[in-house]
């Protein structure tokens, strides 16, 4: 099977004694929505940062579209949109100027700016400075930054943090639409299990730096009929506890 993103024996530690990731093998199939689940401190963000080259890789391999990431870092990043931990925005600029900063680098059409702002519901913010935005608005603008250059792979780390229920539904529907209509592969990490249940086609569960489950969501839910994802998740990580 062709994976858009694949990690092999990915291990990482911030100190020698305590590894944060232990042989993580993540396999994200093309055109799927991959829900990356794990409790706080399980290693989700570290994995995503390693994939994007934000952390120096210590051990293991990372491949995008079947090729090692190091082979063509710039070319691959051109096709990846990301949102890690919290939105990266310049507070003194407007939403439009924030997108313009990244549009220059991606050299994508300028029309994408307006389209992305409309897409995330920020089309009417005008010259308002981002520092005056609510947390939810910032979160949506962060997603717009990730979508600006129409990436083939979207890597989102907790994209619904700080959003109200209405905003969460909006983001969920947006991601589904992007996946269905444009075939964008989405890797989304979240601690909101109900969200992943409603959104993902595939899932991976990480606990204490180790992958404890990986496969389709249907398969996981099928293993434990009449049980919701929350219970399955809790049972899965409980089984792994030493």
């Amino acid at each position: 099977m062709q994976y858009v993103l694949e990690t092999c024996r990915l291990s990482h530690g911030f100190s020698r004694r305590q590894p944060v990731l232990d042989n993580v093998g993540l396999q994200v199939p093309e055109a799927c929505i991959y829900g990356f689940l794990g409790p706080n401190g399980a290693g989700k963000t570290t994995t995503l940062k390693l994939i994007l080259g934000l952390l120096k890789k210590q051990q293991g391999d990372i491949a995008l579209w079947g090729r090692p990431f190091e082979d063509d870092r710039v070319g691959m990043l051109r096709k990846v949109g990301s949102f890690i931990e919290s939105p990266s925005l310049y507070g003194q600029l407007s939403a439009k100027d924030n997108l313009l900063v990244w549009q220059k680098i991606y050299r994508c059409p300028r029309e994408n700016i307006e389209q992305c702002l409309e897409l995330v519901g920020l089309g009417a913010t005008g010259g308002k400075k981002v520092r005056q935005f609510s947390l939810g608005m910032k979160q949506r603008l962060g997603i717009a930054v990730a979508l600006l250059h129409r990436p083939s792979l979207l890597i989102l780390d907790e994209p619904t943090n700080g959003l109200d229920p209405h905003g969460i539904i909006d983001v969920r529907e947006l991601l589904k639409r992007l996946n269905r209509q444009h075939g964008i592969t989405i890797l989304v990490s979240s601690h909101l299990l109900s969200e992943i249940e409603k959104l993902a086609t595939h899932t991976g569960i990480i606990h204490k730096g180790r992958m404890v489950y990986q496969g389709t969501l249907q398969e996981l839910l099928g293993r434990y009929p009449h049980t919701d994802l929350e219970q399955i998740f809790l049972d899965t990580i409980k089984m792994e506890r030493p």
């Binding site: 934000l54 890690i84 990266s88 925005l89 990244w102 220059k104």
Partner: protein, 256 residues
């Protein structure tokens, strides 16, 4: 071409920032003070404007205040503020996941600082010029008799630009490494004080922050020839700081 787009992006980031405001305020502050002082002595304005040393006088007084205080502190602050834009807004992680070589990102950010410095010098010269001609708006004050010595002003600014490069280099190095804005500020103030103490010392030229002061003292106060070519020393320090900074930047384990 990639550099060009990266530079455009970096230039846009400083829009409405404190660093951008500092360039304008810093460049026009001293000319404004000089203008106010001139207007206060209204009676001597006419004679001042026909004096053959009008521009020389404004130049010396302007740079005197500039090189000893505003220039080093302003450069220190502006360089640190530009770099800190990424830390403060949590945007390094986004910048490092864009399709550009980190070397391009590093150089374009540095180039923005250097262009801002050039902009500052240019605006300062315009300010001095305005301090000379604005009084002619009042009746009885003639237009300066002596033509504005653009060449001398630009040449002088060029040397001060070179002499300021070590400050840019070291501030860039420190502020790229530390998230806390106080660290580059403390390092800068420390070097600035040390340089002010050492400026008249025989080996003062070894201090990277005092070249603009030495240049001014040599040209207008002591007329004493420095023991070494301070411009070469300034360039050498800048090159070393920038290279060390680049190595530290590239080898950083966490780029988020």
């Amino acid at each position: 071409m990639t550099f060009f787009y990266s530079f455009q992006s970096e230039w846009l980031k400083k829009k409405h920032s404190a660093a951008a405001a500092l360039v304008w305020v810093g460049a026009f502050l001293i000319p404004l003070i000089l203008l106010i002082v001139r207007l206060k002595k209204f009676g001597s304005l006419a004679a001042g404007n026909i004096s053959p040393v009008l521009w020389e006088g404004l130049y010396v007084r302007g740079w005197q205040f500039m090189v000893f205080f505003l220039l080093p502190l302003g450069v220190m602050l502006a360089t640190s503020l530009i770099t800190q834009l990424e830390y403060r807004n949590n945007t390094w992680k986004q910048a490092h996941t864009t399709p550009q070589d980190p070397c391009i990102l590093y150089l374009s950010k540095l180039s923005v600082i250097l262009v801002m410095l050039l902009q500052f010098f240019l605006l300062f010269n315009v300010g001095i010029y305005l301090a000379g001609i604005i009084p002619t708006l009042f009746s009885g004050v003639p237009y300066p008799l002596e033509p504005f010595p653009w060449r001398k002003f630009l040449e002088g600014s060029g040397f001060f630009f070179l002499d300021t490069l070590p400050i840019v280099g070291l501030q860039y190095l420190v502020s790229m490494q530390f998230r806390n804005f106080m660290v580059p500020l403390a390092v800068g103030v420390g070097f600035y004080v040390a340089s002010m103490v050492a400026v008249n010392w025989e080996y003062g030229y070894t201090m990277p922050y005092c070249y603009s002061s030495i240049e001014f003292l040599h040209g207008h106060m002591t007329k004493r020839e420095p023991a070494v070519n301070i411009h070469v020393w300034a360039l050498a320090y800048f090159a070393v700081f920038i290279m060390v900074s680049y190595v530290l930047y590239r080898t950083k384990r966490d780029k988020s």
